[in-house]
Amino acid sequence: MMQFIHKYGSPRYYYQWSKGWQKWLSIITVVLLVIGLYQGFFVAPPDYQQGESYRIIFIHVPAAWMSMFVYMVMAFAGIMALVWRIKVAEIVVGECAILGASFTAMALITGMLWGKPMWGTYWVWDARLTSELVLLFLYFGVIALHGAFDDPRTGAKAASILAIVGVINIPIIKYSVEWWNTLHQPATVAKFDKPSMHISMLIPLLIMAVAFKTYFLSLLFMRSRSEVLAREKNASWVKEILKEQS
């Protein structure tokens, strides 16, 4: 088991095996995005209450799901980086922080755009938006800490610890924000009821969710591969690759 992890986590092997994955995931992402967006924006019926404007959820909801998912991936990579000292995992932590922050920002912006027609203002201190905002702060912390060290490996280790502490705290933060919200906000805000969603809306939503996942993974592979090359620029295998290409 450990040998397996170390073999596939060594920069050189990682660079080799991730190449194929990156290619196929990129293709799948494009296909799913095309289908999902078409279904979501042209095939799914308009909502009986919100009309056409609800369609932004096909981007908003998958982005919000991703914002949590990426944090989990980041914390898991952090554990691998700290416990098994895998160089590639250190790189993944840094890349996850940036990608996760982007997804979170996307979820927030689309949420605000959606809020304008729904609630009449761009911002409402709604439990989900607030948690998402806090999550963005957490990502900012990881990115800032990661970048603050001269030595990228030390930075990655520090960021890993923060990510792990964060992942334990996130449920508590989410819970506290939800509770705060129920007490402070009477039920004047119309909540969008997920379970009652029609199947014709649900399918494009799920397709988009999968597309976002593959999109994230292919981006992660792409970015971490180039980072691996940059970090290992003095290793002989990298020099060979560079020689072949030039």
Binding site: F137, G141, A158, G166, I172, I173, L183
Partner: protein, 209 residues
């Protein structure tokens, strides 16, 4: 147990607390109604900031003079030593805040029957603030501008403490039951006290790498 301690500059965050709380009536309005409503939030946010300001003292001088690396080399469980350091920090900052807060709450026309809950929430929560803050300080110890960065890292983690505490105080001001909030804060304190010293030791090791 841990006799390595410094008695300097510890009063500054407390003075900061007093001054900032007094600024609110000047900045917002001296209106009795408004102030008493804002009081829990004002006192709590200011207490958070005062604690953050004081966090740097926890390890900084020990890091600069080399005692911290000696501490990491002491035979014996480091987690207990770190725990003792955090406790010492709390005793020098958190505890005085618990004493000061009721006095300051009077300046904000805070209802006297709810002062008890203010004290209880501060008593349970200020150790959590010291614990969480120590992670941030330990992570940024080797950086030049560590102080601001560590506040940035830690403030989001303070949110649950802020929410539960101010909700408890508000509930008490409205004569609603509060024991549930205390239990939650207490649980948070126990979890933090059990886990965070380990994170701090790991963070210190990274800082020394």
């Amino acid at each position: 147990m841990l006799a390595i301690r410094r008695r300097r500059e510890l009063a500054n965050p407390l003075v900061f607390f007093v001054i900032v709380v007094s600024l609110f009536p000047l900045g917002v309005s001296p209106d009795k109604e408004l102030l008493s409503q804002m009081a829990p939030g004002v006192i709590w946010v200011t207490a958070l900031l005062a604690t953050l300001m004081s966090m740097d003292v926890m390890f900084r001088s020990d890091y600069d003079d080399g005692s911290l690396e000696q501490l990491l080399l002491l035979p014996g469980p480091k987690v207990l030593l770190i725990g003792a350091k955090i406790t010492a920090h709390w005793a020098s900052i958190g505890l005085p805040l618990v004493v000061l807060a009721p006095i300051m709450s009077l300046l904000l026309y805070f209802p006297t029957h709810a002062i008890g809950s203010l004290v209880v929430t501060l008593l349970i929560s200020t150790p959590i603030l010291s614990l969480l803050g120590s992670v941030g300080v330990a992570l940024t110890l080797s950086l030049r501008s560590g102080g601001i960065l560590s506040s940035l890292l830690i403030l989001p983690f303070y949110i649950p403490v802020l929410i539960f505490s101010t909700m408890a105080i508000n509930a008490s001001a409205n004569s609603l039951p509060v024991s549930g909030y205390y239990a939650l804060l207490g649980a948070f304190l126990i979890i933090s006290a059990l886990l965070i010293p380990f994170a701090v030791v790991a963070a210190l090791r990274v800082s020394y790498n």
